[in-house]
Subunit: 236 residues, 2 copies
């Protein structure tokens, strides 16, 4: 992992994600304390933040960029268990090791601190543990929703669901619909949806032909008919 900027004095107050992640549970005073043990790190696209099985030394908040969480089978099959965006928290674990691999999809900027420091703070700031439990619960709900997707949905429903999910998290209102700048490849999406690249591509084409979406280069998606996309997701 390449650290390009260490900034012990980085003022959390100016942080773009100050009111997200776990920091939202802290007062300004508490935040000042946290900022003492905080380092900002930058990673190039495709760099690994940590690998499944590594000792869990650091916890992170995503400040900028996109992170991909993956689990691997011994023969190389890969499941993407989630994508993280600015404001998301990274590093929950059981025991002393990370339970998935985290990699940068784009260039990424992370707010890093030692696990030990957080654990120490937990005793003094009960809010923090409440917040962690809340985060874990949310992740759990998210994971269970994905179980439903992977276990029961068709290819079209999966791709539609994934697009709806990304739309809600990183969509921006455009001239004619909601625009997503997809940071990840079709392959990443495929491994997230339990499909193959070609199938994801075919679903995109189908959605385009039906007028539900437009694609703008490799990364741009314009969702012209959000309701129709939601219908196609199988959730309603």
């Amino acid at each position: 992992m390449q650290t390009t900027a260490a900034s012990h004095n980085y003022p959390c107050q100016n942080c773009k994600v100050r009111d997200k992640a776990i920091c939202s549970a802290l007062t300004n005073e508490e935040l000042r304390e946290l900022s003492k043990v905080t380092t900002e790190v930058q990673l190039a696209a495709e760099a690994a933040v940590f690998y499944e099985g590594d000792e869990n030394t650091y916890l992170f908040n995503v400040v900028a960029g996109t992170i991909r969480l993956t689990k691997l089978l011994p023969d190389g099959r890969r499941q993407v268990t989630g994508f993280l965006f600015p404001g998301d928290f990274l590093g929950l674990s059981v025991g002393n090791t990370y339970v998935y691999t985290a990699e940068a999809v784009t260039e990424v900027s992370l707010c890093r601190f030692k696990r030990g420091n957080l654990v120490k703070m937990l005793d003094r700031f009960p809010n923090l543990e409440h917040r962690l439990l809340e985060l874990a619960s949310n992740e759990l709900v998210q994971a269970q929703t994905q179980l439903l997707l992977l276990g029961q949905k068709t290819a079209t429903e999966r791709v539609s669901s994934v697009l709806v999910g990304l739309m809600e998290r990183i969509g921006r209102r455009g001239d004619d619909g909601i625009v997503i700048d997809l940071p990840m490849t079709r392959g990443d999406l495929a491994d997230y949806a339990g499909l193959r690249t070609e199938t994801v591509s075919r679903c995109f084409t189908q959605l385009r032909e039906e007028g539900v979406i437009d694609t703008l280069g490799k990364h741009g998606v314009n969702i012209r008919q959000p309701e129709k996309l939601a219908d196609l997701s199988g959730d309603q």
Copy 2:
């Protein structure tokens, strides 16, 4: 939900799952306090504990029996997100509603208490919140492991993985292998593994023909070759 036995004075000290669930985080003294707000409820097989979307009023510990957690799509497709056994905790949620349906697979006995009571106790017993975070984290890991199964594994690998998981949780050493008394139907297992009943059945047959398992009636499974089953699970 049918309550057959209310027991305000039930002594948690004698509880069969006293050192599991969240109770393991409590001292005897704390436990005495918890037992004041605790009710033991019994449910018949196939009864619902609660439905997805219900207001989250109660939390539970499973004392005896098996619980099935499910999520449904509007058209009836069902994903089983997990099975609970004695000692497991039930009722984590986000917001004020349950995020999945919980149903009794067998006759079940539950230790029930109001969510509000637990929340009150959280302030006084920090251990309890630690424990809840631990439980949530464990569930999360479990869910992510299941994502890998549903997204990437073949039918045989899924069924083998599920059997390995059940073996570890409810397996008993038998004369010639490890014996599981499967409380759920093939249909439940299918909805858990993202398969159809027929496919699960065919996988059982195949495993039997290969000498990996024996089936004893509808519910009994004898795992003669645990290592071979683990190999077939795709995890090693």
